[in-house]
Amino acid sequence: MSLLDVTNLSLSIHRAHILRDVTFSVAAGEIVAVTGESGSGKSLTAMAVMRLLPDLARLSGSVHLDGAELTDRTEPQMCAIRGRDIGMVFQEPMTALNPVKSIGDQVAETILIHKAMPRDKALERAREVLDRVGLPEDRFPLSRFPHELSGGQRQRVVIAMAIALRPKLLIADEPTTALDVTTQAQILDLLKSLVADYGMGLLMITHDLAVVADMADRIVVMRHGEVVETGATKQLLADMKHPYTRMLFEASGHTVTLPDAPAETPLLQVQNVVRDYRLPRTRLLAPPEHFRAVDNVSFTLNRGERLGLVGESGCGKSTLTRAILGLEQVQGGQILLDGKPVFSGHHADRAVRRKMQVVFQDPFGSFNPRHRVDRLVTEPFHLLDDPPRGQARRDAIAEALTAVGLKPDDARKYIHEFSGGQRQRIAIARALIIRPDLILFDEAVSALDVSVRAQILDLLADLCRSYDLTWLFISHDLSVVRTITDRVLVMKSGEIVEQGETESVFTNPQHPYTKSLIAAAPVLPDLGQLKRSLDHA
C-alpha cells in the first residue's frame, strides 16, 4: 500500500463533471507528477486531495492517506490533517503570503495551529525550516515581511510553511511556473532534496513535460478530467501508448523549419540605446535617482531575418520592446527603422511606425472586448494616410483572417467567442493587415498550452514563407526561441551580454550568464537515448 492512494476519484461542480475516475498513487519518498494542459483537471485533483473545493463540489471515490480514508472526514478533521500530514505549495509566490504578517509568524502559524509545540519552540522550528529552505538568519530574520523578498525567496517561505511539521505528503501545484528558469532550477533542486531528506511523498502538478521528465519518478497524464496514461517516467516516455501523451510530448519539443534568411540589408538598427526610469524620491530634497532599464544596447536586425531576444524577468527586454515600438522616448542613442528614426522630436514618426507591428502575450487582454473582430484587426489602418474602405477593407480583413487560419466570416464575431489560440491568431492577423516590414512578438506564445503553441509556431513558419517576414521574437522560453529564430540576443540587467547565430549560442554559449541560463532550462529527454538506456538496464 502506498502513502497516497487515489481511487476512482470523481468531482462535479454545478453538475459539470470536472474529474472522472481518477486513480493513481504516491509512495513515501516518491515524486509523482500529474501533467496535462489547461482544463485537464490536474490542479483540481490536488485540491480534491486537500478537500479545498468550492462549496458546491460533489466528490466521490476514495482518497487514502497512509491507509486512512479521507473523503469521509469532517471539515474539522480535515483541518487537523492539512498542514500536519499534507503540506501544499502553490503557483503564485507573489500573492501566496499574507502581506501584513512577518514570515516568521506565518511559518510558525503552521505549527501553532496544530498545537504541536509552544510558541517559543515553534519560532525556533520556524527558524530551522527557513534555514533548511535556504533563507539563512543573517539575511532573512523571522521579522522580514513578504514584500521585502523576491519571488523565489517567497516560494521558499511557502515551502517552509508546508514542511514545518514534516508532513508525509507534499503537494506542489505548478510551484515554479511563475519563476525564472534559474530560480526554477533552484526550487526544483530544493524540493528534490527535501523529498530525499524527509522521505516525504511529493505530488507535483505541472504542465511542463521537461520539468516532469527531469524530476518525477512516475507520471500521470491527464486530459479533460481523466487519466489517460500513467507509469514510471522513463518507461512511459520511452513507450508512450496513448496518442495524447505522444502529441503532448511532440508539441512540447516542437520545432519548425524556417526558410533561409536573405542577404544582409539592415532593417532595424538599435544604436547605443539607453532607457532610464525616474525612481520615486527617497528623500524630499535630494535629486531624483534613476534606474537604467536598458543600458547602451546596440544591435542590427537585417531584412528577412528572425532575431530572438531572451532574458529573465526584469532584464529590460520589455522596456526595449516599447522603445523600439516608439511608445517611450529613449534617453540616449537612437533606433532607426529602414534608416529613419522611430522617434523624431517628442513624437513617434507615423510614417516609420506603420512599418512595424506587434503581437502581445496575453490572448485575453489584447483586445477591446466591446469591438468586433473586423474593427479589432483593422486598428493599424489608423497609421495609413489612405486606409482601404468598403470592399477593399473587407478584402483586406478576409485575407488577413484567412492567412492566419481563420474564416472571413469570423470578422463579425466578438472576441469572447474565440479560444486563446484563436485570439493569438487574430492578434497576428492584426499585425499582418498593413503588411509591416517588421513584427515584434512579445512573449507571443508564452501564455498558450503546448499543443496550441505548436500550432502557432507552425503558422509563423508558414507565414514566413508566404509573407517574407522579419521579426524580433522576445521570450523567456529558450526552447521556443531556439526553433523560431536565426540569431539570438541574450539580455541581462539592461545589457546585451551575448549575441550570435541561435544554434551556436545554444550549443556553445560564451558568456557565463548564457551558460547558466541554458544549464538551468529543463530539456526533454532524447527518446532514442532513453530507450537505449532502458534496454541496457
Binding site: 479545498l52 483541518c79 498542514g83 502553490f90 501566496a96 502559524e109 503552521t110 510553511m161
Partner: protein, 315 residues
C-alpha cells in the same frame, strides 16, 4: 515610517493652505456687505464705514486674508459680526457638543458595523448574510433626520425615555450629558453604520478571494480562523478610509440632526451664521471643519502604515 509621516504632514499643510484660500475666495465673492446688512437698509454711510473699520473690513483683501490666517494660527478666530463676541469662545462651547456627539455616533456605528460586516462575510450567500445586507440596504435608504423624527415620536413623545431635544450640558454630569445625546447619536449612527458594515463585508470578501487565504487554509486553519487571523486586518484598510470620511461627516454633517434636536453644536452655529450673514463666523467654522477632515485623513494615513508594513517601508 518617519519619512512617510513627514511626507503626509507636508501634504496636510499644503491642503490646508489651498483650502483657506478657497474658503476666503468663496466668502469674498458672496454678495452683500456684512456691515450694511447688519445695520439695515436705512443706515447712514458714515455709520456703515465706522462699522466696517471696526470689523476690519476696510483694509485690502490680501491684508484681510493674512490677518485671518495669522489670527487662526494664534488661536484667535476673530470677532463675530452679529454677536460681537470672540469666535474662538463660541467655537469652543459648540465643540463640546459636536465633538462628543461625533465620537458617540462613530462608536455606535463601529459597534454595529464591525460585527455585522464580519458576520455577513463569513456567511456569504446564506440567510444570515442576506438578513444583514437587507437591513443595511434599508439603513442607507433612511434619511437620518426622518429617522430622528421617528425616534423622537417613539422614545421621547410616546415612551418618554428621552427628552425630545436640547442639550442639558456637561455640568449636569457625564451620564446626563450622554443621555441627552443618545437619540441624536443613534440617528446619526444608523446610516453610517449601515455603510460601514457593507464596506467591511465587501472588503473582507475581496480578501477571502486572495491567494494567501488559500495558503492559510492549506496550513490547516479553518474558514473562521483564516478569516480572523488573515482576513480582518487586511480588510481594515478600506474600512479605515471610510471611517475617516465618516468622522468628518459626523462632525459637520450633523447640521440637520442638530436642527431636529435643537442642539447647540457647530452645525447649528454655521447655519445661524449663514442666515444672519455673519460671514466671518462661517469662514472660521468652515475652515475648522476642513482642518478636522484633513487632520483625520492624515491620522488615517498613519493608521494605514500601522496596519500595512508595505507602507512603512515605502517613502
Amino acid at each position: 515610517m518617519l519619512r512617510y509621516a513627514l511626507k503626509r504632514l507636508l501634504s496636510l499643510i499644503l491642503s490646508l493652505a489651498v483650502a483657506s484660500l478657497v474658503i476666503f475666495f468663496v466668502i469674498e465673492v458672496a454678495p452683500g456687505d456684512p456691515a450694511s446688512f447688519m445695520l439695515g437698509i436705512n443706515a447712514q454711510p458714515d455709520t456703515v464705514a465706522a462699522l466696517r473699520a471696526e470689523l476690519g473690513l476696510d483694509v485690502s483683501k490680501t491684508q484681510r486674508y493674512l490677518n485671518w490666517v495669522g489670527g487662526m494660527l494664534t488661536g484667535d478666530f476673530g470677532t463675530s459680526y452679529t454677536y460681537r463676541t470672540s469666535i474662538t469662545e463660541m467655537i469652543g462651547q459648540r465643540l463640546w457638543v459636536s465633538l462628543p456627539l461625533a465620537l458617540y455616533a462613530l462608536t455606535l456605528s463601529t459597534l454595529i458595523a464591525f460585527p455585522a460586516g464580519i458576520y455577513a462575510a463569513a456567511r456569504r450567500g446564506k440567510p444570515g448574510d442576506m438578513a444583514v445586507m437587507g437591513a443595511t440596504q434599508l439603513g442607507i435608504a433612511v434619511p437620518n433626520f426622518w429617522f430622528a423624527m421617528m425616534l423622537v415620536l417613539i422614545f421621547a413623545i410616546n415612551l418618554r425615555w428621552f427628552g425630545a431635544g436640547g442639550f442639558v450640558g456637561w455640568d449636569k454630569g457625564l451620564w446626563a450629558g450622554l443621555h441627552s445625546l443618545t437619540l441624536p447619536a443613534i440617528s446619526l449612527a444608523l446610516p453610517q453604520g449601515a455603510i460601514l458594515a457593507r464596506v467591511m463585508r465587501s472588503s473582507l470578501l475581496d480578501i477571502l478571494g486572495e491567494d494567501f487565504m488559500r495558503t492559510a487554509r492549506a496550513k490547516g486553519l479553518s474558514r473562521r480562523q483564516a478569516l480572523w487571523r488573515h482576513g480582518v486586518r487586511n480588510a481594515l484598510i478600506p474600512v479605515l478610509t471610510i471611517m475617516g470620511l465618516q468622522f468628518s461627516f459626523l462632525l459637520a454633517g450633523a447640521i440637520i440632526i442638530e436642527q431636529v434636536f435643537f442642539l447647540p453644536g457647530l452645525g447649528r452655529l454655521v447655519f445661524q451664521a449663514i442666515s444672519s450673514r455673519d460671514l466671518i463666523v462661517v469662514e472660521s467654522v468652515v475652515m475648522l471643519l476642513v482642518f478636522a477632515v484633513i487632520l483625520v485623513n492624515f491620522l488615517v494615513d498613519l493608521a494605514y502604515a500601522a496596519v500595512d508594513p508595505r507602507l512603512r517601508a515605502r517613502t
